[in-house]
Symmetry: D3
């Protein structure tokens, strides 16, 4: 009857990042009609909302991948570090997932990832050793 992937996506996006859909819509829909719903339906409805893997592990996988992919994903890495905290991961689990990427994406990628985590932790008032 309705676009359930969009609804499922919106539910999970709201849990991880309240107001995300409206913020995307305000920023992008004028230049690209329908962008916000497309993103929510695809990224959250067709990926994070799926069964088969728990949300916290999904988020740690995303943090690892964005770290390995490097600079082009810098802003999204910070957003996803916040989402990963919201999904129940500890700061230490996040820095461990980032550091491990030094093996696969190289040391610069890992260091830039740790810097991103340090910024998010500072914004949230989390002490570095509070893992």
């Amino acid at each position: 009857m309705t676009d359930t992937h969009l609804q499922q996506g919106q539910t999970i996006a709201e849990r991880l990042n309240p107001g995300l859909r409206d913020a995307l819509s305000a920023k992008y829909d004028a230049m690209l009609p329908g962008m916000a719903d497309s993103l929510i339906e695809w990224a959250y409805g067709h990926a994070y909302a799926r069964e088969g893997l728990d949300l916290k592990t999904r988020q740690l996988c995303t943090v690892a991948a964005l770290t390995a992919l490097g600079g082009q994903t810098g802003p999204q890495l910070k957003v996803n570090i916040a989402h990963t905290l919201a999904a129940g991961a500890s700061p230490r689990e996040i820095t461990e997932a980032i550091w491990q990427m030094a093996v696969y994406g190289g040391m610069p990628a890992a260091i830039n990832g740790l810097n991103a985590a340090a910024e998010v932790f500072a914004e949230k008032g989390i002490a570095p050793d509070q893992g």
Copy 2:
């Protein structure tokens, strides 16, 4: 007294992939003296053997990142899918972690990752829907 990172790395490498160090040594040490121990010490001793994140999640993070990084890591992706099964993940958890990377590394990366998983599952006699 001794190089404990190397020992810790060898313990975990042996658990995930028995005989890995000797296979690396036979293949690479003649052309690059000490390569096998360097790899074991670094990748397994300084990463997988660390505390703060469980081994299964570490392996799922690696599968996600290698999927997102794409082709250059194809052979290592297959090796790590096998390691991830050895660390206790289900086939479905692995394909879910791979698919989610379509959002971050693009659809080609996710499809190639699923193809790698299908090959590993076939080699191990795991049915595709056995997740």
Copy 3:
């Protein structure tokens, strides 16, 4: 009433590559439930089916990007070269879009892209200078 992005995607996928959805379903849905519909809805429904840019130019953009991204997208590059011919581009337009990527993705990426085009042209009986 219904998931129109999926329907729109299926229409355009069928035009570019008849039978694509069923082929994806047969290959991937057992290991990842719903994968075929997710891919059709997202890639074709939320991208290629959009207004604002003609299909032939969309396909040439995809060929350019897959060339620049390089090896991880090799199989998808060949598929999309065929889709681009189906969307009305000439072989020469395709090789020109590929070659230009030498400036942005480097010479190896461009050469590998030309090799992919040569394979597709040969499979379709298109002479190299038939552009």
Copy 4:
């Protein structure tokens, strides 16, 4: 008689971005003798000045590829969005080419590309929905 690729390149560079060669020369030739002419001859003379694909489509292909390649090409993406407007593409054609890259380069690459377009449009006084 003369280096025609350099001349052809300079003609097209001047059309897309008046004064580009001299700006490059002033910035780079002291640290790397001959850099400006090499760039103009190669990128514009051996790529954009070629027959076989129209300039507007060439520019849209470049915008797509730079979007997919991501952060390392950020400044060049903005320059090429401006070049693409100069080659006759509408803002909407540009945002469509960028968005489509979410399928191939991932969502972060597409979002960063849209942000780059928004900055260029703002600098030129183009309303977001003016496509």
Copy 5:
């Protein structure tokens, strides 16, 4: 009077890889007119033929970069390992430059690079420990 970058490029290409220009022309010029000369002029005339850095070091830099870039450059990595031997580097200098890239491009990139070197050395009858 003449296109000296093309001539300079052809001289150095001939030194590193006799017959390269004609092989490129036979393979690519029908599908992309002028490709062979463009490549020789650009890659060899505007890069390798320059003063300011010796040819052997230039080749080792290329091997390092192609290793770090990974899979998309696999075939070109093997070609350049052969060019680097032709420029006077020892096998060991080559494997050292490759291995160091584990720090920057990740372990998979380094392993794939060592595998490429092993193949080139085997084709040329160079023993692995002959560095």
Copy 6:
């Protein structure tokens, strides 16, 4: 008796960048216990401290690779340009190694690399044509 790779790494890191280990420790060890020693042991002990390739060439290889890899390694590229000067390379050798990467990593990567070099040279009071 002791961890010689760590000691060897610390010796060479101190030569290239006095105080590096302590700076890393102050910045990262609280959020990731042992990070500084792991980095020094791996990057400097298992790579730069190795025999078989001289330090200056190693550094030029690193500058080339970080240039080709692009944006994600921007901060590390600047650090390594400084290390490469410390290892005895001339500014011109560095800009030549960077420019050559236009062939492999694309023109944007090379331009961004030259910009990074210009910043380091300016910080050190090196005139652009002082190569």
